[in-house]
């Protein structure tokens, strides 16, 4: 990865982190709903993975954090408005942060019930292969989600048809309160790739360079007809599962130990080693976030008159 790419990953990760922190403070203050699953500690991996793809490559994101959207250039204003159920977001209060969508940026949404992403992602990849678009689909998911049956049905078909898709697992060691080792017969999810005749690679998801490199290899393979890859990034969930979760299942010490490896801090070190001062970037990001908050606050709540819109297309039937 070149320095410019790393710098951009840093910028986006920082923006994601700060935006999320702001969402947490707004939620605690009761100003926005507390519906976001915090992504701190995982955003670097998400963003580095997306940096290794092309901007138009179709993506189904996971439920954790805002990094996926920031990486695709979705404006913080838009993200905040979706979170706040206000005008100015993408889904008009219908899906909140679970279902932000921007087809022009390849942001194709997510299923709220875990596992749907796998099979829908395969359909997307099928379409790309069928159209010879040269696009590569990417599906993000957690280690816990890898225990859903659709994982199996999807990876089998993707392996069989050599579909252009990257299955990107963010293994943070937890599915809500349940440790991966208490839910999964193998803690290295990548080992499952063998059952689908596709490569499975595990990388340190706290290392942007490693994630970028592994994802680029997977994307190149997919784009050149070599088929799917299961990439597993080991990451840390630095916050609770969601805001209301008091985390009785792990101690403060355990959490503090994770913060020591904060991948964002690692990126700062790397960036500063190239002689760049991050302070102005911090300032710029802080400003960007506050502008977004101001914008969001000025937007009206989604009009209740629109609550029934969007169930069906208009016109239903096209001749």
């Amino acid at each position: 990865m070149d320095d410019a790419t790393r710098l951009e990953i840093f910028r986006q990760s920082l923006l994601s982190r700060r935006l999320e922190e702001r969402v947490m403070s707004l939620a605690k203050a009761g100003e926005v709903p507390a519906s976001l699953h915090m992504g701190a500690g995982q955003e670097v991996a998400q963003i580095a993975a997306l940096a290794a793809l092309r901007p138009q490559d179709p993506m189904l994101y996971g439920h954790r954090g805002v990094g996926y959207w920031i990486a695709r250039g979705v404006e913080p204003e838009v993200i905040l408005c979706d979170i706040a159920y206000r005008e100015g977001g993408t889904n008009k209060g219908k899906g909140g942060p679970m279902h932000l969508a921007d087809p022009s940026r390849g942001v194709l949404g997510e299923t709220g019930s875990l596992g749907g992403n796998f099979v829908i992602g395969v359909g997307i990849a099928y379409a790309e292969q069928y159209r010879r678009s040269g696009n590569v689909a990417i599906v993000f998911f957690g280690d816990g989600t890898a225990n859903r049956g659709q994982f199996h049905e999807a990876l089998n078909f993707a392996g069989l048809r050599k579909l252009p898709i990257v299955f990107f697992c963010e293994n943070n060691g937890w599915g809500l309160s349940t440790p991966t080792a208490a839910a999964s017969a193998v803690v290295d999810i990548a080992r499952r790739a063998a059952g689908y005749d596709m490569p499975g690679v595990t990388v340190d998801g706290r290392d942007a360079d490693a994630v970028f490199a592994a994802t680029r290899v997977a994307a190149d393979r997919a784009r050149s007809g070599g088929g799917a890859t299961l990439v597993e990034a080991n990451v840390d969930r630095l916050h609770a599962h969601y805001l209301g979760d008091r985390e009785p299942y792990r101690t403060d010490d355990e959490k503090a130990a994770l913060w020591v490896n904060d991948p964002l801090a690692r990126l700062v070190t790397q960036i500063e080693a190239t002689g760049i001062d991050v302070a102005p970037i911090e300032a710029e990001v802080a400003d960007r976030v506050e502008r977004a908050v101001t914008y969001m606050r000025a937007q009206p709540l989604i009009d209740i008159a629109t609550v029934r819109e969007g169930v069906y297309s208009e016109p239903g039937i096209v001749r």
């Binding site: 019930s113 359909g123 659709q150 049905e153 078909f157 039937i317």
Partner: protein, 319 residues
């Protein structure tokens, strides 16, 4: 032309007309499907008519993904019961994807499946239209003739919304007049299959055939039955049913599904709401009496409404 052939005709027309269309499901490729609907089609269409693994979640989920990318997938589930083998994909993801993402995506996808009949056992015999009808976001077609099977399938493929087409096992081999070439059967337009003045019967598919036979017998007694075939139950042509019942003052719904919570229940409630005061007689529902469908054909015959049941019920009602 037979019903199965008429569906094949519709699929072929659309495959020729629009390269966004693909047809897939278990054994639908070279074999031609367990119901023979796609027989011979791979010769003309090659891999655009393809086999999937035994992976129902994949079949439906993949259709969603393809549709998100502008394709017009036509998936087959071997049995209508198997909507539950793809439960999350059908009832959660297909149904809500558009709405949850703010109406930003159309989902032009079709899921075909075989319903009803006897000799297949409790998990291969169900008519699952009532479940689908209770699910906003899904269009539901119930073709009762070869003519409608072709026209509804064409309409379904051209629909920008997800359409579930329940094909009846006992009708695949039944022929009627089917025009060459292209035509559409509109959604939400019920058909008067027989005009009459004394009582309205709402019935479709195999139950419609039984109702038509019963009507002739009743006519000998001087009871003239009007038979309404809803054609689709989402959208449901409430006006047509209500108009008929306002005229006749009595209504019998005949269906091949459990009575409680069936389509007949909905029609009953609608009549209360829209034809109150016009009914001289209470609604009668003939349905499967809240029992799974057994394997033995003679038991199925004892369980599902028969022509004799219809005759008896109408006579009692008219007494």
């Amino acid at each position: 032309m037979k019903y199965a052939h008429a569906i094949r005709d519709a699929l072929s027309i659309e495959l020729r007309r629009d390269d966004a269309v693909v047809v897939f499901g278990e054994d639908v490729g070279a074999f031609g499907g367990v119901w023979g609907v796609t027989r011979g089609m791979t010769k003309e269409f090659g891999d655009r008519v393809f086999d999937t693994p035994i992976s129902e979640d994949l079949i439906v989920g993949m259709a969603i993904g393809m549709a998100l990318r502008g394709m017009r997938p036509v998936a087959e589930l071997q049995y209508a019961d198997f909507v539950f083998c793809a439960g999350a994909e059908v009832f959660l993801n297909t149904a809500t994807y558009r709405y949850a993402h703010g109406g930003l995506f159309d989902l032009p996808m079709v899921v075909r499946m075989a319903c009803g009949g006897g000799g297949f056992g409790p998990e291969h015999s169900q008519s699952t239209e009532a479940y689908l009808m209770h699910t906003p976001g899904l269009r539901v077609c119930l073709p009762s003739t070869a003519y409608d099977a072709k026209g509804l399938t064409l309409a379904a493929i051209r629909s920008n919304d997800p359409v579930f087409v329940l094909e009846h096992k006992r009708l695949y081999g039944v022929a009627d007049d089917v025009p060459e070439g292209d035509y559409i059967v509109e959604f939400g337009r019920a058909r008067v299959r027989r005009a009459g003045t004394h009582v309205t019967i709402v019935a479709w598919q195999d139950m419609l055939r039984r109702a038509l036979v019963a009507a002739e017998q009743l006519s000998d007694d001087g009871i003239e039955v009007e038979i309404i075939d809803p054609v689709t139950v989402n959208p449901l042509d409430v006006d047509a049913i209500v108009a008929s019942v306002r005229k006749t003052g009595a209504c019998v719904v005949v269906e091949e599904a459990p009575r409680t919570g069936g389509v007949g229940a909905e029609i009953g409630a609608l009549l209360m709401e829209h034809a109150f005061g016009y009914l001289d007689k209470p609604l009668r529902r003939l349905a499967i009496p809240d029992t799974p469908v057994p394997m033995a054909e003679h038991l199925v015959d004892a369980l599902a409404p028969s022509t004799a049941d219809i005759v008896t019920t109408v006579r009692e009602l008219m007494r």
